[in-house]
């Protein structure tokens, strides 16, 4: 009897709208939506640009919403379009995605405890852990601590929905209008510049930037353009670990 009660409670706790009632769920949804508005603006526009770049590269438009639902990663998706347009190998695509998204591997570290309470939502929360979603989940507080999982799940879902909308609209419009997209892929360069400026505001030690510049110069001299990112990233990681004791202080 007790075991049965425990099971049903577990089930109920994973069906928030039924437990909380519509009003309570509505309140959490409103708070989550409000928190996600900056991402709404960013994801719809960058997603739109992605759709235009994808169709501009000669790929079928529907790959844009497909990638929004599956890959769901901004910079890696842009890179993926470049890889597919150049008919790159599968292993190369895997390795470059790994290197580009390796930064995500550290995001979860600060969410281990929160997500351990998330039950059935946990896989989706991990799947949807983009830079911006991570930023929101770690800074915005739910209305009450008990609502945390529902709040996090709604934010993650809304963010992916915005991205999906942008990518779909960009793909459709890019494929139907004769739009001169030449130079639009500079958006990706601009995105990296912005991320670099953000890093410089948080990490003020010069060493990682200098080691990266040294690695970049070495890689530019000694390897062909195709292998630049791979080699320079490997080099920079080695140098960072090598000078660990000195930088850490």
């Amino acid at each position: 009897m007790r075991a049965r009660a425990a099971v049903s409670w577990k089930k109920i706790s994973q069906m928030p709208s039924k437990v909380f009632g519509k009003a309570r769920f509505g309140g959490i949804f409103a708070a989550a939506f409000k928190a996600s508005v900056p991402v709404l603006l960013g994801y719809t526009t960058i997603g739109f640009a992605f759709g235009l770049v994808l169709t501009g590269a000669g790929l079928p438009w529907w790959l844009s919403p497909v990638m929004a639902l599956s890959v769901y990663a901004g910079a890696a998706q842009f890179m993926g379009v470049g890889l597919m347009a150049a008919h790159a190998g599968i292993a190369e695509a895997a390795l470059l995605t790994l290197l580009m998204n390796a930064r995500h591997a550290v995001y979860g570290l600060s969410l281990l405890e929160e997500f351990s309470k998330a039950g059935k939502a946990k896989p989706y929360l991990i799947f949807g852990l983009t830079d911006e979603t991570y930023g929101l989940l770690t800074t915005v507080k739910p209305p009450t601590p008990a609502d945390q999982t529902v709040f996090h799940t709604i934010i993650t879902g809304l963010n992916q929905f915005y991205w999906f909308l942008g990518c779909t609209a960009g793909g459709l419009i890019g494929s139907s209008l004769p739009f001169d997209t030449k130079g639009l892929d500079f958006a990706l360069t601009a995105l990296f510049v912005v991320l670099l400026v953000e890093q410089m505001k948080t990490v003020k030690t010069a060493a990682p930037y200098l080691l990266a510049i040294a690695s970049a110069i070495l890689a530019l001299i000694f390897v062909s353009g195709r292998n630049f990112l791979l080699v320079s990233l490997a080099l920079a990681s080695c140098l960072l670990l090598l000078f660990r004791k000195r930088i850490h202080q």
């Binding site: 890959v71 995605t97 550290v106 995001y107 990296f192 670099l196 410089m200």
Partner: protein
């Protein structure tokens, strides 16, 4: 060709999910090692620096317009971001400047 595209997308999806799941697969229940903590802090600035290099490395500096559209637009993006710190504005502004600059008859 469609099969090739879908294969690339599938592989990219699996790898991306893997990178996001790493801490939950390996460190739930125990403290992550110190070197990972160190990399967590200092790897992102290095990666971003290299991604900027990577994005600009195919610009040709030897012939007109000597890479000025790309370098100028990158600089404007950075300045916009230092000024307003609005991601959208910085990206849209920098990209618009670039798209205009490469169309100028110089």
């Amino acid at each position: 060709m469609i099969r090739y595209y879908l294969l690339v997308i599938a592989v990219m999806t699996i790898v991306t999910v893997f990178t996001r799941a790493v801490p939950f697969l390996f460190f739930s229940g125990r403290k992550p090692p110190q070197w990972l903590d160190y990399l967590q802090k200092f790897m992102p600035p290095a990666v971003m620096t290299l991604l900027v290099f990577n994005a600009l490395k195919d610009v040709s500096f030897a012939e007109a317009p000597y890479g000025l559209p790309a370098l100028g637009a990158a600089l404007i993006t950075a300045l916009l971001h230092l000024w307003k710190r609005n991601v959208l504005l910085s990206i849209a502004g920098g990209t618009a400047v670039y798209m205009l600059a490469i169309r100028l008859p110089l």
